[in-house]
Symmetry: C2
Amino acid sequence: MNATIERLLGHRSIRKFTDEVVPDETIRTIVACGQAAATSSNVQATTVVQVKRMVTREQLAAFAGGQPYVATAGAFLVWCADLRRAAEACRRTGGDFEPGMTEHFIIATIDVALAAQNAVVAAESLDYGICYIGGLRNNPAGVAELLGLPDQVYPVFGLCIGRPAQDPEVKPRLPIEAVLMQERYDEDGEEARVAEYDETLARYYRDRTGGNKESHWSIEMRALVGKESRPHMRGFLDERGFKMR
Amino acid sequence: MNATIERLLGHRSIRKFTDEVVPDETIRTIVACGQAAATSSNVQATTVVQVKRMVTREQLAAFAGGQPYVATAGAFLVWCADLRRAAEACRRTGGDFEPGMTEHFIIATIDVALAAQNAVVAAESLDYGICYIGGLRNNPAGVAELLGLPDQVYPVFGLCIGRPAQDPEVKPRLPIEAVLMQERYDEDGEEARVAEYDETLARYYRDRTGGNKESHWSIEMRALVGKESRPHMRGFLDERGFKMR
């Protein structure tokens, strides 16, 4: 155990921020830490659009389903998967860009996530709090239009960064035995472990809400994967040049 | 600037390791740090399969295109995107799992990448070196068979962790101006910035190889996105239940 590990284990999303603005120089440092993450074949498929204009922030907050901290956090960054820059470099060196490969989509999406998580670690090391905003994918076409995203670029998620104005507890995770396996995939004992986790999480929700929230992981999963989720994504990606072939 | 940020900025992939084995307890800590990363709707779609058996490690090294450190690093982890666990929880609570959504695929892939990057930061904070192995996607069906991965689970990448037996330089990245934009996507000045970076990277390759490697970023990008990449991925994912609809 060391201070870095302690901080990683202490992560929780922050959804209430002071009005302290994150300085530009700090954002540059945080994004530079993102750039320093591993990147597949050095593609560096990450583009970050920082949004400061309040009217744009409010529009993005609305796209995200009314998450007010998108507008009020000390900084808001839109993390985009970007194959356009690589495609242009390919063309300038006499190549023909091969659009629409599933593998390129995967590479770009992973690249962005690795970079963003490094940025998050950097931000939290500076005592900022963060919240990922997957809700931008509620309306990716709206986000793309608002930010002028060209083809071969898609908004993966947003990221709020700011000085925390709340101090929530760390949310319990699945027991590590459920996710760390040896040699081969192993479902043995999973049902019991999930049941144990359901109880832990139900208690956590009850304690935080004075008994008002009755839920647990399995119920959450029914809500998440038991129905269609953002069915527009496929069509949006198709249109943006990510054909998934 | 602080010690965490300095370490993030100092990242480089390690491809040569001492024969020091990473203790089980350390792997648990590293994976627990992965679990602590943000996860979309708490889905926790990450499963990690640690492989110790040498015959399996060597097979995985071969799948990855002959990367010997897959077999020799102090630990090797296969990071899988896992919707099966959530689907089972959904079914047990009376829901009908909705398979094949593109959005669920994106959620699961991002989840794995965020978790893995946290694990990497934890490992590097303990003076281990790491190398991501995207090459497992050369033969994802082979990996899935070898590790007994069920439907709704796919191997996103491998991760070597171990004590470094080399001390490579940090690889230069694109100038931050090329990747951090304000308010809207902005291609202005990109060509000049990429040209500058091409020179920087060409110098880096020449210096490290005694003049034997003549390449730069744009040439690398022509090789990466100027041709089909792992065209089997789409069919593999289809078969494994990730229909991308």
